[in-house]
């Protein structure tokens, strides 16, 4: 072997090892530096507004009130005290029970709508999706109006189901998580391969056996994914336990009580960390399951249409679906009535005065509509900024040649927010931004911090939407652009963005609708004058002004539905104007 070892064939092992490590690097130009700069910028943003605050929060859980390091003392204190240690098992209990109920009910509902022949499918589907983008505390409030000590059903039938406590929380969570589980299971059920059922039928398999051997295994990952999502929603939820939990403490309400009630930030941080653990585990398991689900979907299938079942099965499933739909609708009717009722249920006369309330801090600036307007502004800013950041970072990750390490780091940072409960994020922001010694302090108490926390809180789902949309695009668009000497930002604006526009609108709408109802992260961050809608529902309920809380809830729902309608029209309009080139 001569000095020019690299130019010899890869005959010998040591040459191979040496050559594997080397690579001919291309010269970097303006575009390459720009791209790298944007990578750094986005990674820095996610670090500053997610990783760094979490570290601050974690550190606080190892400190005492003076800031001295005390090791695990806070954790020991948490588990030593009979009053605090309840909340962890309580949280796990309500989450697991909610998970079981929600998955069973949503499966029944989705199975009926995807696999059975029945009238009114579109209506039932619409009803199932109603509770999405409605804050959980609004639903809890409606349940109180229906089943509370003075609830309308309690009085009508004389049965008190003792709603306050775990029972009320579980009912609210099931209701709140139902549409999420329904969407996942509908998708899983509609992806079945009809040929499997035809083969089963040819072998004279009974319907029950086909269900157990084909249907259930086929939606295995969908069921698991739905279970993890419901579990996560339930364990991280703050609104419902706050309103209907009574003396039944869960981790989320415990954090709130420690921080807001007792100013015990250390214990708040400790409980936060405890909440992060189950949420993180559910997140990791869900990621693993979803990866398998994707592998199943890519297979070539003949779609499965609805089929007739045994009459008894059809009647039972249909009856269950109708009952569930009636229940969902009755919750909305309750909110509608409650908002216009003087004093439920004693004085049922019609009134509009519930809309002219005063929340602490909004005294001199008028009632519900001021709060609502603040919320809309915040949601709008979140939607615009969030869409921009999320779509662009997904673009950088999906459509960059090389830079594999930077891409995987940014990807990891982008899916992490899903594992972080809102309460944990909000509290960690206090530690980071309410600190006079930190330059980040200038953000404290501003609208910007509310927007940023909301973007981070809801980052992952839109990010995955953007990733999927970008993955579906031909991977050679960028190569073609480069070969034609177009700068990457030109191809991005001229081709990528127009082609991905439906996904971009979906992202904007997701951010907007969630920002309208967000509570858990901003509950620690608002300052008087910047109350948001869902927050004022909680404050009004705390103050005993339930009727006004109902009025505010109704407004949130109305804005939500209006926004969904507008986004629908926008998507529809775009689809119409671009139908000439969209491949259907």
């Amino acid at each position: 072997m001569s000095a020019q070892a690299t130019e010899l064939p890869l005959g010998e092992a040591q040459d191979l090892e040496k050559i594997k490590k080397q690579v001919v690097r291309q010269q970097l130009g303006f575009e390459d530096y720009l791209r790298r700069g944007l990578f750094v910028l986005i990674a820095l943003g996610l670090f500053t507004f997610m990783i760094y605050p979490l570290i601050m929060g974690l550190m606080r859980s190892f400190q005492d009130r003076t800031g001295a390091f005390i090791g695990l003392t806070n954790y020991i204190n948490y588990f030593a005290s009979a009053t605090t240690r309840e909340s962890l098992p309580n949280s796990l209990y309500i989450s697991v029970i909610s998970m079981i109920f929600t998955v069973i009910l949503a499966f029944l509902y989705a199975y009926g709508l995807t696999r059975m022949k029945m009238p009114g499918k579109r209506i039932f589907q619409g009803i199932a999706l109603l509770p999405i983008f409605i804050p959980s505390l609004v639903q809890a409030l409606a349940l109180i109006y229906m089943f509370g000590n003075n609830g309308i059903f309690t009085r009508m039938f004389g049965i008190n189901i003792s709603l306050y406590g775990s029972r009320g929380i579980i009912m609210s969570e099931v209701f709140y998580a139902f549409p999420h589980a329904f969407i996942i299971l509908s998708t899983a059920l509609s992806l079945a391969d009809a040929r499997l059922y035809e083969a089963a039928e040819a072998l004279r398999t009974s319907g029950r056996r086909a269900f157990l051997t084909i249907t259930l295994p086929g939606v295995k990952y969908g069921l698991m994914s739905a279970a993890f999502v419901v579990f996560t929603l339930a364990i991280t939820d703050f609104g419902a336990p706050k309103v209907v939990g009574g003396n039944f403490d869960v981790l989320a309400t415990d954090i709130y009580n420690k921080v807001i009630g007792q100013q015990d930030f250390q214990m708040g941080a400790t409980i936060s960390t405890l909440l992060l653990i189950p949420a993180g585990i559910a997140f990791i398991l869900d990621r693993l399951v979803q990866r398998r689900q994707v592998a199943m979907v890519t297979a070539n299938i003949t779609p499965m249409g609805p089929k007739r079942h045994q009459p008894l099965v059809e009647i039972i499933v249909y009856a269950c679906i109708i009952l569930m739909a009636i229940f969902i609708l009755s919750v909305y009717v309750t909110i509608l009535l409650g908002a216009f009722t003087t004093y439920w249920p004693y004085n049922m006369s019609f009134t509009l005065k519930n809309f002219t309330f005063y929340v602490a801090g909004t005294h001199h600036r008028g009632g519900a509509f001021v709060v609502l307007w603040t919320s809309i502004k915040m949601a709008f800013a979140t939607a615009v900024a969030g869409t921009f950041v999320v779509f662009f970072s997904a673009y950088l990750i999906e459509k960059t040649r090389g830079l594999n390490f930077a891409r995987s780091i940014l990807y990891l940072l982008s899916i992490m927010p899903l594992a972080i409960p809102g309460m944990v994020l909000g509290l960690s922001y206090i530690f980071t931004f309410n600190n006079p010694n930190s330059p980040l302090n200038i953000l404290y108490g501003t609208m910007a911090i509310l927007v940023i926390s909301t973007i981070i809180h809801y980052y992952t789902v839109p990010f995955l939407t953007a990733s999927t949309a970008l993955k579906q695009m031909d991977s050679e668009f960028e190569s073609i652009g480069e070969s034609l000497e177009a700068p990457f930002y030109k191809t991005f604006l001229r081709v990528t963005v127009p082609v991905a526009l439906p996904a971009i609108i979906q992202i904007t709408s997701y951010f907007f609708l969630n920002a309208m109802v967000t509570l858990s992260a901003v509950v620690f961050l608002f300052v008087p004058g910047k109350e948001l809608a869902a927050l004022s529902v909680m404050l009004l309920d705390d103050a005993g002004e339930t009727a006004q809380a109902m009025a505010m809830s109704l407004l949130i729902i109305v804005v939500g539905f209006t926004a969904r309608g507008l986004f629908y029209l926008l998507t529809h309009g775009i689809e119409r104007t671009t139908q000439a080139w969209r491949v259907r």
Binding site: R25, D474, E476, V499, A580, V583
Partner: protein, 372 residues
């Protein structure tokens, strides 16, 4: 746009000692290749042989571990794709779906700040060139696969690049469209005189289109040559088997040092092979080169007796499976025209003679484990 082209001074595109690994996989193992100006070169090989990787490295879309590329005498090894001079067409067309055919073709011209009226002129000219003067206003989704690929070709040619790279451009098309389009591309290339590298796994495409074929396997080049040369004189059993069909008969070099003993047949062989006496060899012969007859051909060598085991009707001809007498190894495959079949009235079970022409036999050292 128009680079100074190397006139007669060495190759236009020169790939030297290219090495590329993906993890533990060696995709290109010291590959060197020179392409003359105006030449149409096909990279041919099975999937995973490294042909697409080589094309992408030439384009700069993949970075090599080591090796150099010269284009028109200039070292382009370290240039990013946007600084190289090539047009590229992919199997997926990769037409921008939201732009009309016209805007797709104009995309590269706009980036070079060509005046608007010149762009319009050039695009019209290109639409005519690819035979689609009337579809300029249409979106890709409104065009057939063949039309889309022509537009993609026009887009790649719009800026008059010095090098055209085609990555399996016909593989996604229907068989009929493929056959017309491959001729059109060939004619267009000849007319424009543009140096072209074409990647394909379809041997017929390569034989029809290429001036020169580069057969690749497992990251190395097996043979480079004109289509006829590749077909007639495959340099290795791999090439023989991959391009066209081939009979492989295991045997050994006879005592005279030249003819080959296969079973109890002693085969004369025109090609001087320089393989030592008694060494194991493999004799190769194309199915269409075997002469089949019911009567003993007079005075010839290389004649064997066989029995017909199978006769498949393939439209224009029959493919016969013949078992050589006194030879237990694989049967011979021979192709016989319909006319000959009728004249000889061959049926399954018939006994026929085969003549294996000495000048068409190829001899490879060692035993080949491949099936013909």
């Amino acid at each position: 746009m128009d680079q100074a082209k190397s006139n007669g001074k060495g190759p236009y595109l020169d790939v030297q000692h290219m090495i590329k690994t993906f993890g533990d996989l060696v995709a290109l193992n010291d590959v060197s290749l020179a392409v003359s100006e105006g030449e149409f070169v096909c990279l041919l090989g099975p999937s995973g042989c490294g042909k697409t990787t080589l094309l992408r490295i030439i384009a700069g879309l993949e970075q090599q571990n080591s090796g150099e590329i010269y284009q028109a005498g200039k070292n382009i090894s370290k240039l990013p794709p946007r600084d190289r001079d090539f047009g590229i067409v992919f199997q997926s067309y990769a037409l921008f779906p939201n732009l009309t055919a016209r805007d797709n073709i104009a995309y590269g011209l706009e980036n070079r700040k060509v005046p608007k009226n010149q762009i319009i002129e050039r695009v019209t000219e290109l639409l005519k060139l690819v035979g689609l003067p009337d579809v300029g206003h249409k979106y890709p989704a409104q065009l057939s696969g063949g039309q889309q690929q022509r537009i993609a070709l026009a887009r790649a040619l719009a800026t008059s690049p010095g090098l055209l790279l085609l990555d399996e451009p016909l593989s996604a098309l229907d068989a009929r469209v493929r056959i017309t389009l491959r001729l059109e591309i060939k004619h267009l290339q000849r007319r424009l005189g543009i140096t072209t590298v074409f990647v394909t796994h379809d041997q017929e495409e390569a034989l029809v289109m290429a001036d020169r074929i580069v057969v690749m396997n497992l990251g190395t080049i097996e043979q480079v040559g004109a289509p006829e040369e590749i077909y007639r004189r495959p340099a290795s059993p791999f090439v023989a088997d991959f391009v066209g069909a081939m009979n492989f008969l295991p045997g050994s070099v006879a005592e005279d040092g030249q003819s080959i003993q296969v079973g109890n047949l002693s085969l004369a062989c025109s090609e001087a092979h320089q393989i030592g006496r008694g060494a194991a060899v493999t004799v190769a012969l194309r199915p269409e080169d075997i002469r089949v007859d019911v009567q003993l051909p007079n005075g010839g060598n290389n004649i064997g007796k066989t029995q017909v085991k199978e006769a498949e009707f393939l439209g224009a001809f029959y493919r016969l499976t013949l078992q050589l007498e006194g030879y237990s190894d694989k049967p011979l495959i021979a192709e016989v025209s319909n006319n000959r079949m009728r004249d000889m009235s061959i049926q399954i079970g018939s006994r026929v003679f085969v003549h294996l022409p000495p000048d068409l036999l190829r001899v490879y050292p060692g035993k080949v484990g491949m099936h013909a």
